[in-house]
């Protein structure tokens, strides 16, 4: 082994704690990169493959009742590759031993031949036999939640009649990867089911012979999505078409997409942070090493070593750190990434998983990590190369400090504190980078933990400010308003508020959107309408109140006149003023007074659903009655839904916090520990002299650790600001028409982020403190630095 290489190994060993601290920061960067990119690619590929193999449609549209021949018309639209019509309806389920009513989306299966689009993947059993109208295939999640297998039975209220259904198969579907029940924020497998029945059975039940209520379209490559959507809309308009939409507005796809986007964002935000910090730390440690070895470098040059050889020696030091980081990070990232992919796979019930962990991920990881390390080391190595041998043999000039305050000022500040202040000001760039580095760890925490605050805020808004009802019943079709008094008489119903929802097309200038208009009576108490300042709004007798998201898309403000076209019943176009902008986080919504909706539809007072306040003690009795009510198409249980949501959240939150706290602590520890160690190496002599003068260990430690305390404290506000910025960017990236996330960061989250970082700083300070305590007083005094 060359003696230079032996020196390299000894240096690495001597500086092992620092080297490991830096390598861990790099490892965190590599791990997050490998994990996020790998999991993202794998899941994306899994989804793509799933979609492709099971022919997930590109366009979806629902109608009230469209004649079957329309399918041929749709197929003739240029760019359409395949069309499949179906009947999709919701039904209440009655499951033995499960008092809470569940809701199912019932989907028809073709009588002859296989499904053309949105094919199911049969896990067990077989498809329903058209000859037996009671045979059903259910989704796996639901079957698992109830312990169902082929042969088991449950009841469903199908178009008013209670029917016993026999499970013949258990399946998965690309259409319901993320299966959300009405009003749910998280899939609740026990309360929401997908059931596939033979078309014949469902046709008969819903009296839809020769008609369909849903159509799916697969496009040819290169076809225009918007054009086809428009032409489908035109064809369906007369049959209660509710507006065709593409995958991006298909619920399951959109939610899954948002989740994958988050992974992608993680791959873009976290690794650069870690690699930046690592580069900075490498710069610090190598500059110090070179400064200490100036004489040796000069000597080697004098002995005839080439500058390049010596430069390479130091670059190898950098490369070794990067290598350790890449190996640890690569292994950890792969392991965690596979775990995460499996976790997602389970959660979404993918029938298979494609692991796409190409060599290129590692190639990229190695490339950017070594690149960052080399950049970090470049300055120090360059100074080595440039150092003329003669100069190298002299000790560097002592650092020049500046007086930043006059004597009068300083009278009351102790000299040790002046040392701290001057030292910071003497190396402002290094102090600045240290502050920046630590602040990034605060930012990492803040930018990840804030999502819980935002979610809590949305929960509070949705379930405690706006939709405060315990349950919502939706009827299979519009009912006269008199039905409300029937509902009020049900056991356990404390209050009932009518609601009428109709589909409309709203237009302002060139922009138009298909949206539901929710009609509510004035002064509702359960389900309230709140404006963007979170104040309850009384909807005026006439006028249109879009949600803020919709208002933004249309570009309307209060007072603007919009055009509303009805999409159900008789077609009408009316102009209406915008009377309020409504706060909303989920979907594109709009509101009107229920009377105004009735007038718009030119029908008498009708309702499509009812919001309920329930007496919990009588809930079972109520549920039992609801399960037998023919007119109820679905039931949403907001409080149950919230429970489920909270439960899932609680499971995730502690994992998330510990992962991100760990990552942040790696940064904070790496920066603080390295700063302290390098300072100790630079100032050990100074500190030892003070010990000789009679300063206690505590007083001497303060000079060094006090500086770090100051820098750490200074990094907090900066970290909050950066974290807020990253959170803001994250939130912007998550905005979609389906949902928007409010940017909310609680004071508590700032506190937690700060405390974690302060904790990591304190730990590194304690470790360094032990070294300060062990300073060899005599040894330091004997030698000139």
């Amino acid at each position: 082994m060359l003696s230079l290489d032996r020196k390299l190994l000894r240096d690495l060993w001597r500086l092992k704690t620092q080297v490991i601290a830096i390598a861990m920061v790099m490892a965190a960067g590599v791990a997050t990169l490998v994990l996020a990119v790998g999991a993202y690619r794998s899941l994306d590929e899994t989804r793509e493959t799933y979609y492709e193999r099971y022919r997930f449609a590109d366009i979806f549209a629902t109608a009230t009742r469209a004649p079957e021949w329309l399918a041929d018309e749709i197929a003739k639209i240029p760019g359409v590759a395949a069309v499949e019509t179906r009947i999709v309806e919701t039904a209440i389920l009655d499951i033995e031993g499960f008092s809470v009513p569940a809701t199912a989306a019932l989907v028809s299966m073709p009588e002859i031949g296989d499904q053309v689009l949105n094919r199911i993947y049969l896990r067990q059993g077989r498809t329903p036999d058209p000859a037996h109208s009671d045979e059903i295939v259910v989704n796996e999640a639901f079957a698992k939640a109830h312990g169902f297998g082929p042969g088991d039975t449950f009841h469903a209220i199908i178009d008013g009649r209670k029917r016993k259904l026999v499970i013949v198969g258990i399946a998965l579907s690309p259409e319901y990867i993320y299966a959300l029940g009405p009003w749910d924020l998280m899939p609740d497998d026990s309360r929401f089911a997908i059931g596939w029945l033979s078309r014949k059975a469902i046709e008969a039940a819903y009296d839809l012979d020769g008609a369909f209520s849903q159509v799916s379209v697969k496009l040819m490559r290169g076809a225009s999505l918007d054009d086809v959507i428009e032409r489908v809309d035109v064809l369906l308009a007369r049959y209660g078409g509710r507006g065709a939409y593409g995958r991006k507005d298909q619920q399951s796809h959109a939610f899954l997409d948002a989740e994958l986007k988050q992974l992608e964002a993680m791959a873009r935000i976290l690794p650069p942070i870690f690699l930046f910090v690592a580069a900075f730390l490498i710069n610090m440690i190598l500059s110090r090493l070179v400064a200490l070895e100036r004489e040796q470098i000069g000597l080697m040059k004098a002995l005839g070593y080439r500058s390049l050889t010596i430069g390479m020696h130091y670059m190898k030091f950098v490369a070794a750190i990067a290598l350790v980081g890449v190996v640890i990070g690569g292994i950890a990232g792969t392991w965690l990434g596979f775990g995460l992919t499996r976790l997602y796979g389970d959660f979404y019930h993918f029938p298979f998983l494609v692991f796409l962990w190409g060599a290129d991920i590692y190639g990229i990881a190695v490339f950017i990590t070594v690149g960052a390390a080399a950049l970090g080391g470049a300055r120090a190595v360059w100074s080595v190369v440039r150092l003329p041998p003669a100069v190298a043999m002299h000790a560097p000039a002592p650092p020049r400090y500046r007086r930043f305050l006059t004597n009068g000022w300083l009278r009351h500040i102790s000299q040790t504190n002046i040392m701290i202040a001057r030292h910071i000001l003497r190396w402002p760039v290094r102090a600045g980078l240290t502050v920046f580095g630590i602040s990034l760890s605060v930012a990492v925490l803040l930018a990840s933990l804030f999502s819980f605050d935002s979610i809590e805020f949305m929960i509070d808004f949705t379930y405690f400010q706006a939709d405060r009802q315990d349950a919502t019943l939706e009827f299979t079709q519009e009912r006269p308003v008199g039905v409300i008094s029937d509902v009020e008489r049900l056991p356990g119903v404390l209050a009932a508020e009518p609601v009428r929802t109709v589909a409309v097309k709203v237009r302002y200038g060139h922009v138009e959107r298909r949206v539901p208009v929710i009609g509510k009576p004035a002064g509702t108490d359960l389900s309230r309408v709140l404006d963007t300042d979170f104040r309850p709004v009384t909807l005026p007798e006439t006028g249109f109140a879009p949600s803020d998201a919709l208002a933004e898309i249309l570009g309307v403000r209060v007072g603007d006149i919009v055009e509303i076209e009805t999409l159900q019943g008789r077609k009408r176009i009316v102009e209406m003023p915008v009377t309020a902008i409504i706060q909303g986080y989920l979907g594109l919504l709009s509101f009107m007074d229920i009377e105004a909706v009735n007038r718009l539809m030119r029908e008498g007072p009708m309702v499509t659903g009812v919001h309920l306040a329930i007496d919990e003690a009588e809930a079972d009795a109520l549920f039992a009655e609801v399960k037998d009510m023919p007119m109820v198409g679905s039931i949403a249980l907001q409080k149950k839904s919230l429970e489920k949501f909270r439960q899932t959240l609680a499971e995730n939150i502690s994992v998330m916090i510990s992962v991100y706290a760990g990552l942040a602590m790696v940064i904070a520890f790496g920066v603080v520990y390295n700063s302290a160690r390098i300072q100790l190496s630079e100032r050990g002599r100074e500190l030892a002299s003070l010990r000789v003068l009679g300063f206690t260990r505590g007083e001497v430690s303060w000079i060094l650790l006090g500086e770090l305390a100051v820098l750490t404290l200074a990094s907090l506000p900066l970290g909050w600001a950066i974290g807020y910025g990253v959170a803001w960017v994250t939130v912007q990236g998550l905005q979609s028409e389906l949902y928007r996330v409010p940017l909310v960061i609680d004071r508590q989250t700032y506190a937690v982020s700060s405390l974690v970082v302060l904790g990591a700083a304190a730990i590194s300070a304690l470790i360094v403190r032990r070294r300060i305590d062990r300073l060899d007083l005599i040894e330091v005094l004997k030698t000139r630095e």
Binding site: V692, G694, F695, L777
Partner: protein
């Protein structure tokens, strides 16, 4: 005669570095008297620094006893030694050991802040002839000036004893003399008991007594009937 400030009795110091044992002190006996100016002479490695470090509370003896005004120093723990250094001892070293981020005045203030009955930093700097360099940083001072700041820093707390380990070792003759003058002046004006290590025989002439070291022991002690002023010394 008054009780000595230090009584050193059969002091031994053994350094153990792995397998090797180095006997730095092999039974030193020495009394240091109140107010005297002592010069320790001897070849390199003879144990002078080791003795001074033990007397100054920087190091522990292996065996033997050292009393400071009747108190046994060898029993002191780390905390007591720190206090002892803080209150009673002033140090001057070969390489000045000033804090580079503090000015001359502030380097002195560093000590006066933690001392019980200090003089003003300006006063201390005046005693070593540096009144016109108060606000200079170490980097802006010559070696001799830096060493005089170190002396001012050592005497500012009015220590009872002043230990100087080769204070002129890094200086040329002319600047070295100015440093010695400062030390003699402090000894005369404040009565600070002073011990100066050197391997420069000429410097012995300015002392009350010269302690010759050899091989970890006191070889002999010379008493100067007449002391030469520092200004007359050259090397």
């Amino acid at each position: 005669m008054a009780e000595p400030v230090f009584s050193v009795d059969d002091l031994t110091k053994v350094y153990r570095t792995g397998e090797v044992e180095v006997h730095a002190l092999r039974g030193v006996d020495l009394d240091i008297r109140e107010g005297e100016f002592l010069v320790l002479l001897g070849p390199s490695g003879s144990g002078k620094s080791t003795l001074l470090n033990i007397l100054g509370g920087l190091d522990h003896a292996t065996a033997g006893s050292v009393t400071f005004r009747g108190t046994e120093l060898t029993t002191f723990d780390e905390r007591a030694l720190t206090l002892y250094r803080r209150e009673n001892v002033g140090f001057v070293f070969q390489f000045y050991n000033l804090v580079p981020s503090l000015t001359a005045r502030e380097n002195v203030a560093l000590v006066t802040e933690i001392a019980v009955n200090p003089m003003r930093p300006e006063e201390a700097l005046e005693m070593v002839g540096l009144s016109d360099r108060l606000d200079h940083f170490p980097a802006q001072l010559s070696g001799g000036e830096q060493q005089r700041v170190a002396i001012a820093r050592a005497i500012a707390k009015r220590p009872e004893v002043l230990f100087c380990d080769e204070p002129t070792g890094a200086l040329d003759s002319k600047t070295g003399v100015r440093v010695l003058e400062a030390l003699v002046a402090v000894n005369a004006d404040l009565g600070t008991t002073t011990a100066v290590i050197t391997h420069n025989v000429a410097i012995g002439d300015i002392a009350h007594r010269v302690v010759h070291f050899a091989d970890g022991k006191v070889a002999r002690i010379d008493v100067n009937e007449t002391r030469r002023p520092a200004s007359e010394i050259t090397w």
